[in-house]
């Protein structure tokens, strides 16, 4: 596969099964995939195709039961729970379908959350968070709680939270799944901009071909395996 930079993520014959004995479910059955720094990859596939499982492993939230997952050459499968937490803390940002913001907590405090675990001082935290809010076009909405924001705004707060730490990798799980077309396009344009100008590698799981079309590379999963992996020449 063509790549724009050094390899960030390397999946080697990756397998993940749940349960035991006859009840075993093989969510991933030998997936090999390289993603380079700076790529924007869309992962598609029907429910149960293993795309979410693959996403969780790439996000260091889950560990494979077979094969290897290398993050910048580091074998994540061999790491402890805390070591994976530290990887997440320093290199990975998450955006979820359901936004997953802390309720009754202002937008700016939601954005500051990852920085708290980086032991950063309050003033530095605030200035980084304000900057991230500006990047997602939410300057002036800092003190609104999530329930005072629209779905699109909430998702932008979630993106600000994901990028405030300047991560190497941004994982987006159906980021437009709860949004109408106009809001979805806004979010996609924002992700594209972050990918291009900030150089953040983005891996996005989506159902919608319209959204996948924004990515430069589209990987399709089926039954726990990669069905197709192709460059998207139409990418904007």
């Amino acid at each position: 596969m063509p790549s724009t930079g050094p390899v960030l993520i390397k999946l080697q014959d990756l397998a993940r099964s749940y349960g035991q004995g006859s009840a075993t479910v093989n969510a991933l059955r030998g997936v090999s995939l390289d993603i380079a720094e700076g790529e924007f990859v869309a992962i598609m596939g029907p429910s149960g195709s293993g795309k979410s499982t693959c996403m969780n492993i790439m996000g260091c939230l889950d560990t494979p039961t077979g094969g290897h997952f290398y993050f910048r050459g580091l074998d994540v499968g061999a790491l402890s729970n805390d070591q994976r937490a530290l990887l997440r803390r320093h290199y990975i940002g998450f955006v979820f379908q359901g936004y997953n913001l802390l309720p009754r907590t202002s937008a700016i405090e939601n954005v500051e959350l990852p920085l708290i675990y980086r032991q950063m001082g309050a003033r530095e935290r605030r200035s980084l968070a304000l900057n991230a809010m500006r990047q997602v076009g939410l300057a002036g909405w800092e003190n609104h709680a999530p329930n005072e924001l629209s779905g699109g705004q909430q998702q932008r707060v979630a993106i600000a939270r994901a990028i405030v730490t300047a991560p190497a990798l941004l994982l987006a799980d159906e980021p437009t799944g709860n949004l109408d077309t106009a809001r979805s396009l806004e979010i996609m344009n924002l992700l594209i901009r972050l990918n291009r100008s900030e150089g953040i590698t983005i891996v996005m799981v989506t159902h919608e071909p319209d959204m996948a079309a924004f990515a430069r590379r589209i990987v399709r999963f089926k039954d726990g395996e990669i069905e197709t992996d192709q460059l998207n020449s139409k990418a904007a």
Binding site: L61, A85, R88, F94, N100, L102, P114
Partner: protein, 403 residues
């Protein structure tokens, strides 16, 4: 980071003010009960011990009646003592500092229009030494007055207050029944005794004056003996018993018809009893603290379930398991320390109010306050740990999907 965790805990507690308050209520009640009971118990112990010690340390009291009865009981049936018994104790027993024969009765004393029912004791100057009385003003009896049984008296503070008001009692006359009596001395106040009686409510006259003019006999109701500080009171007590058995002709095998009370012994017995009672009551109160702790655990478990998604988010953005554990543990501890603080305040005010009501001193003991406060913290740690560990061990993927 630690500060952040504490701020976070405060915020989580404030977010659910009513629930937090109700949860803390269990701890508040427990800590308040322990604090109040221990404080009141200590006050009672102190009141008993100091009351007995105000009677005079190393004091033995010899009274008619069989041993085993309370002081003063059954004394009408037993033979009374006489002045010679007291003299014999003073002469023949070693280690004795002062021996005071005492005859007493309740008598109405009158000055002008004022009258006051008080106890009148006929005794010698040794009485003041044995009971560790000091004079506030005036003087004690002279040898002549004691020998002749002159109508002179030394009065206690309570009697002075009721009969003389603001005027100086020294040199003034007082009537005991129909006997006029000149006040020559005023005793310094000693306050309440071990059994709650007012020790200052007393008029003291020469023994002979009492026997001749009030009682009309030569009886001595009881004998107070002060042992020297370097002498074991137990030995003095034994010697007195032997001497009196001899003087009262009680044969071997016969029961004593008098008893010797060792005030030091009574004091330590009483303080032991009150200490044990205090301990028991506090143990009962501590059970309510335990119940409060279970309340905290319950609410923390609910809170962990409610905030599963939040925990998932925190884990996803890079919180370590121990940081999540610390967050919930600190929340439980802050909640219970908060309860402890309010509990201590309520407990102390309750103790102060009860002390006034029960007429025991309010003994503020920092160890009780610090102890119950620490204990509430401990309850928080113990009962907060399980829910916190549960939160920390959540799988981030499941936690994020939790509805």
């Amino acid at each position: 980071m630690f500060l952040e965790t504490i701020l976070l805990a405060f915020r989580a507690i404030r977010r659910n003010t009513l629930r937090s308050t109700l949860t803390a209520l269990g701890i508040i009640i427990g800590v308040a009960a322990v604090t109040a009971l221990v404080t009141i118990g200590n006050g009672t112990t102190q009141s008993v011990v100091s009351g007995v010690s105000r009677l005079g340390s190393n004091l033995l009291s010899v009274r008619p009646g069989e041993p085993g009865g309370a002081p003063g009981s059954a004394r009408s049936t037993a033979r009374p003592f006489n002045a010679a018994d007291a003299a014999a104790i003073a002469d023949q027993i070693g280690g004795v500092k002062a021996v005071a024969p005492i005859a007493s009765a309740k008598v109405t004393s009158v000055v002008g229009n004022e009258n006051w029912e008080t106890s009148v004791a006929g005794t010698l100057n040794t009485y003041f030494e044995a009971g560790q009385w000091t004079l506030a003003s005036g003087r004690l009896f002279t040898e002549g007055e004691l020998h002749a049984g002159n109508p002179v008296c030394v009065i206690g503070e309570t009697v002075r207050r009721h009969l003389f008001g603001k005027s100086d009692p020294i040199g003034q006359a007082l009537r005991l029944q129909r006997i006029p009596c000149t006040v020559i001395g005023l005793l310094a106040s000693k306050g309440a005794g071990a059994f709650g009686m007012d020790q200052d409510d007393i008029v003291i006259i020469p023994l002979r004056a009492f026997q001749r003019r009030i009682a009309g006999n030569i009886d001595v109701d009881f004998i107070n003996v002060a042992a020297r500080a370097d002498t074991a009171t137990a030995k003095v007590k034994r010697d007195i018993e032997n001497l009196l058995r001899e003087r009262r002709r009680i044969g071997t095998g016969q029961r004593d018809d008098f008893s010797v009370f060792d005030m030091t012994e009574i004091s330590s017995t009483l303080s032991n009893i009150t200490t044990v009672l205090t301990g028991l009551l506090s143990a009962v109160a501590a059970v309510s603290l335990l119940v409060g702790g279970i309340g905290i655990m319950n609410i923390m478990l609910v809170s962990v379930t409610e905030r599963t998604r939040e925990i998932g988010i925190r884990l996803a953005v890079g919180a370590l398991r121990r940081q999540v554990l610390a967050q919930f543990l600190v929340e439980a501890v802050v909640l219970s320390l908060f309860g402890g603080l309010i509990g201590v305040a309520i407990g102390l005010s309750l103790a102060a109010a009860m002390a006034g009501w029960l007429n025991v001193p309010f003994v503020f003991e920092p160890t009780v306050v610090v102890g119950s406060f620490m204990f509430s913290g401990l309850v928080g740690v113990l009962f907060g740990y399980f829910p916190a560990r549960r939160a920390a061990n959540l799988n981030p993927i499941d936690a994020l999907r939790h509805e």
